[in-house]
Subunit: 316 residues, 2 copies
């Protein structure tokens, strides 16, 4: 059992969902994530609106992204328009920069691209207002974390997304945690449209917070974006076009026949079970951890996602 | 230039070394990393002791790891012994868990392995004292960071490694930042030997700090460890043995003929140039960033590494 115990324990440090394995065969005071999730109530899980779910097909599988219209409504609407126009179909992952981002869009919309072949955005806007932050809305769900943050006065989860707040300015914004999907732009803050997006694949680049719009979050399929060969060119661009990963169909779940949709459920971040998972990560007591951290940082918390059709759970 | 500006600016948020690109063609008050590094003095760079440098050959290239004998001397010595015995040659990367770690060692030293084929450790110790923390030594170089930390009272760089301190207990320890190389172990804190190691490939799992020994840090080749397909089994194990990545030769630089060594230089974390790079990341002012973060977290700082034989610089 040596290696298994080892990796189990190691794994537990990363995913609340992995808390389970080690404890499965040992009685422990701290309930494991597996136990907590098994005991969770159906009402603690939410089904994202299919209008906010994007299925992005890669050669290796499907990536599921949830848009965040509460924070970036104009970007969500524009991305929906682009998706409905099949704008992304056949475009590509153009860069993978280690410990930073995987970015996709139109390869021709670049210095090295063929400007004459740039794909038109159709009915979608070419530019949008920044939407980097929004005024704090008391009607939005907010679950604060207790351990502070290097970058923001307050951090927690708003409507299920990792977020930060500044009571002084009454502003709230989504944070660049692992799996965040941001809107690439030019120098002009108004130049983003959602036609080129990036997903965070490394240490949270929180310095981007409030400087770029976050359009959503990857719910499933992160390994398909993070486990790619890094581009050899500066900023992770691929040296040769054939190295790019071509996107298959990119659709809104709402445009997919119901029988073909994934029945994805996300644990509510304002649920008792989520609170117990967070506390279990802050103060995990088992035979492996001799010293519980006693703290947890926003971007180290994973939000459980499951396919209601299956019984299995997975993390982004 | 649209896309190039975009990615340049994006890239800059991740690597101090990438600050350069955007500024290259624009006059800006904040000197870029490229400018700062170009102006750095030879005395600001250190050449790691070849006795502390490990060359780990993968099918895709070489990973260079620097051991941290100031923090884990017994582990450094044991790993040197294992390397000199060619213990790691032909072993494998046995798991890649998304947003967590890539781990290598003896595939047979696992539940699914063939116990009869476990590779002996030879003269190396099978177990070692934990070495999770060490008493603060005033003679060790310490460069504190100004912006605080969620997990520790103080964070900064000690002898060139990301580290944390607790003045109350007078203890100091290396932190699980991106690229940290940790010592896998069993439940027993004394069960680690260095025969199985992991590298952090995602959001810093700081909850592991002070619960596992950090033997060193990857100086070059991180993309070769982070850009691998994630294992489909729980905790990132590969489903089939052939999916594992076999290790080629694993050597100490000191055992390699001088002419064949990489002449690696690492920017001193107590140098004025490093301080300027950190400040540039904390308060970057350019046409892209409308709002400088004003802060930086320990694990978001990359330490410049260069091959003195080449003129190019690179980040781990």
């Amino acid at each position: 059992m040596l290696r298994r115990h080892l990796v189990t324990a190691l794994a537990c440090a990363c995913s609340v969902l992995a808390f389970s394995a080690l404890a499965a065969d040992k009685a422990k005071p701290t309930p494991t994530a597996k136990e907590l999730l098994a005991a969770s109530k159906p009402s603690e899980w939410r089904r994202p609106d299919p209008q906010n779910l994007i299925y992005m097909q890669l050669p290796t599988g499907r990536v599921v992204i949830e848009l965040a219209p509460d924070f970036t409504p104009l970007h969500a609407a524009n991305i929906r328009t682009l998706v409905r126009e099949h704008y992304f179909d056949g475009l590509a992952i153009i860069r993978v920069q280690d410990n930073f981002v995987t970015q996709w869009g139109d390869p021709n919309d670049d210095d090295s691209g063929d400007k004459s072949k740039i794909r038109p955005l159709g009915k979608a806007s070419k530019t949008l207002p920044p939407e980097y932050t929004r005024s704090i809305d008391p009607t939005l769900q907010w679950t604060p974390l207790p351990d502070g943050d290097v970058y923001a006065p307050q951090v927690g989860f708003s409507e299920g997304f990792p977020a930060a707040r500044d009571p002084a300015t009454r502003r709230e914004w989504l944070t660049h945690c692992y799996g965040a999907v941001g809107v690439a732009r030019d120098i002009d803050p108004n130049s983003g449209s959602g036609s080129s997006l990036y997903a965070v694949i490394g240490q949270a680049p929180r310095g981007l917070d409030r400087n770029l719009a976050i359009a959503g979050r990857v719910l499933q399929g992160m390994p398909l974006l993070s486990g790619l060969s890094r581009g050899a060119e500066p900023m992770g661009f691929y040296t040769k076009a054939p190295q790019r990963i071509t996107l298959g169909s990119v659709q809104l779940a709402s445009d997919v026949a119901e029988k073909d949709r994934q029945d994805i459920e996300v644990l509510r971040t304002d649920s008792p079970t989520f609170a117990a998972l967070v506390e279990g990560k802050r103060n995990r007591r088992d035979t492996f951890y001799t010293l519980p951290a006693g703290k947890v940082d926003l971007c180290s918390i994973s939000i459980p996602v499951r396919d209601a059709k299956a019984t299995a759970t997975s993390k982004p």
